[in-house]
Amino acid sequence: MKGYMGKVLFVDLTSGTIFEEKVDDKIYENFLSGVGLGAYILYKNIPQGADPLGPDNVLGFVSGLLTGTGSVITGRWLAVGKSPLTGGWGDSNCGGNLSPAIKQCGYDGIFFKGISEKPVYLHIDKYGPKLHDASDLWGMDAVETEELLIKRHKDNKKCAVATIGMAAEKLSLISGISNDKGRMAARSGLGAVMGSKKLKAIVLDGNNKIEGYDKEEIKRLTKEYGEKVKNANFPSILKGNMLPMMSRVMDMGSTYSPLNGMMSIPLMKRWGTIFTNTFGLPNGDCPVKNWDGSIKDFSYQKYKHMNPDYIIRREERKYYCYSCIIGCGGICNVSDVTDGKFSHTHKPEYETVNSFGALLLNKDMDSIYYLNEIMNRSTMDTISAGNTISYAIECYEKGILTKEDTEGMELTWGNSESIVALAEKMIKREGIGDILADGVKKASERIAKESQGYAINAGGQEPGMHDPRLDPILGIHFSADPTPGRHTVGAGQYYTYMRLWEHVSWAPKVKIRTPKEESYIASDEVALKSVANSCIKQIVDGSGGCLFAMISGLSNWRLFDYLNAATGWNLSPDQYMAIGKRMQTLRQMFNIREGIDPISFKMHNRISGNPPLKEGPLKGKTIKIHDMMKVHWEAFGWDKETGNPLDVTINELMINELLDI
């Protein structure tokens, strides 16, 4: 009774063999569950040099250590595997209801190797795991597939389903995996790995009990945090159209101070992530015009259409991921904007709105609802697709792509009709869409070398919709992490909100009136902050935790105490951070083994401000990103020039010993 189930399931799709494997306690004690368990299993089971889309790659679905224990906001799962997009470690994080379902089937993770001859899906119920023919499902979208499988396997109680749509079946390297009818584990291109294995879906219907060590303490922690969340409400007098003004006011001055992350919860409760649609433009957080523009190119007259209040008017119901008490999700009625094709769509996340909005100078919110739904159904990553379309538009505007290449489409900024048409072609891999369906890096290699200046990526992964020129520590995580281009790993702002220094002895304290310019310096202090971000995020991803709970502050959402209560380990925050360091180092070791040069993950010059923007709130901002990567790696105990984990660090973390290599 330590929160985890103590075993994993392996499915060999080539032979059809299914077997369980017990996992020793010491693995959980050193890697937690979730992404840490995934890294341990994959490092041992994927042979060096495996083709990400070949039979040797292993695709895993992992739950979190805290999932199902009575803790809150700990219901996220991850897909893990070798990424076909970066060639290195891949993982992708998602909410919904799949994470507890994995554990209810009796496992902390379900891992697939091999390639099936024909499409199959895995079903697990009280009679055990079984592979079924999925030929009839191949070609169906993710929503249709999930609805059909739920109906087929359970009439009165919902089972949990993860599935892929057309983009993943067609091996788009920017495709992901869906659950809960369109919630996506979108990053790292793991949808293509699932497609390559001819694995259409997993259907989980177990009823195993999940138990933690000290249920009363878990209950107490949940109650304490629950009270805070319940009381965190945004005054009704404040409306969505005031967010740009709030942004300007918050951004005033040349210093910043520690904030209470709990105070971000009211915005998440009211709107979800879409409050950033308009809040992030005046301060430069939202990238505009393929990361080369600013609010000057996408003025209030255009971005006012993304006002979160307008989107909320369409929200017919809010929903909560498993064990969530914030509830940032929602279902919107879009029957009037899609020619009746779709009646509803998930409330689009900010990432989606900006990827298809300001990034493309597209003010047509109706087109964004439509794009949101077709991306979810086809399981294509909206961040990567938006970045790729924005690259294509810039190529077209600069004459690198012609009307002949686009088959007559006028691929101009803000042309929503062309944007939708191109997205549909990418999903179907038709014409120019086939060239673009694998993301910007591949597209630029296929189209023309000179277009690489517009192919914004980090190590092949298109970056999330937050600008590192505003928050340089975000740039470190975009560039120096084993999974590059991620906005969810860490940022200076996240660090300020989490207040890790109240728990972790070596985490630098953010002082009142800290000069903003200090974040742009490759200093030891900045490096310790980014290392702390990386470590805590690994712990969160090993626990099934959510980024938004993490940012509400570790003194509020008490992750370390939750882990001790669930496991009985009684470890200190410093000891947990060492586990996070081990998890991160193992992911980096995976990349090194696969021949990745960590320097090659350095984010695109444009987004480090080389050259700097000429106007807007980020005018003149440049980040010395290479220097910042070096100090980050050095502080991690990795070689500061190459990013390779040093032997002394690997030994100190006992990684080889634990992996038995």
């Binding site: 005054p235 210093t255 904030l259 709990m262 990432e351």
Partner: protein, 78 residues
């Protein structure tokens, strides 16, 4: 004297806080008096942009030593 931990928002006079973010106040000071010391525009007093110990409290609430006073502070989301 009492000290109250303040998590600042915009338009706060940070000079009134010590290095650790505490405001030092006379015994029996109220939220209204704290807002005045922090030089928050009066127009914003009743907008409910703050919490005391993670609860909404009226302006005449008397503060205690080690209370936590926080302003709403948006962050970038994913």
């Amino acid at each position: 004297m009492i000290r109250v931990k303040v998590f600042p928002g915009p338009m706060i006079d940070l000079n009134e806080l010590d290095e650790d973010g505490y405001a030092h106040l006379e015994e029996n000071s109220t939220i209204g008096e704290l807002l005045k010391i922090l030089k928050i525009p009066k127009l914003l007093y009743n907008m409910g942009l703050y919490t005391l110990n993670y609860k909404k409290e009226p302006l005449d609430t008397v503060l205690k030593d080690e209370d936590v006073f926080s302003f709403i502070s948006p962050l970038a989301g994913g």
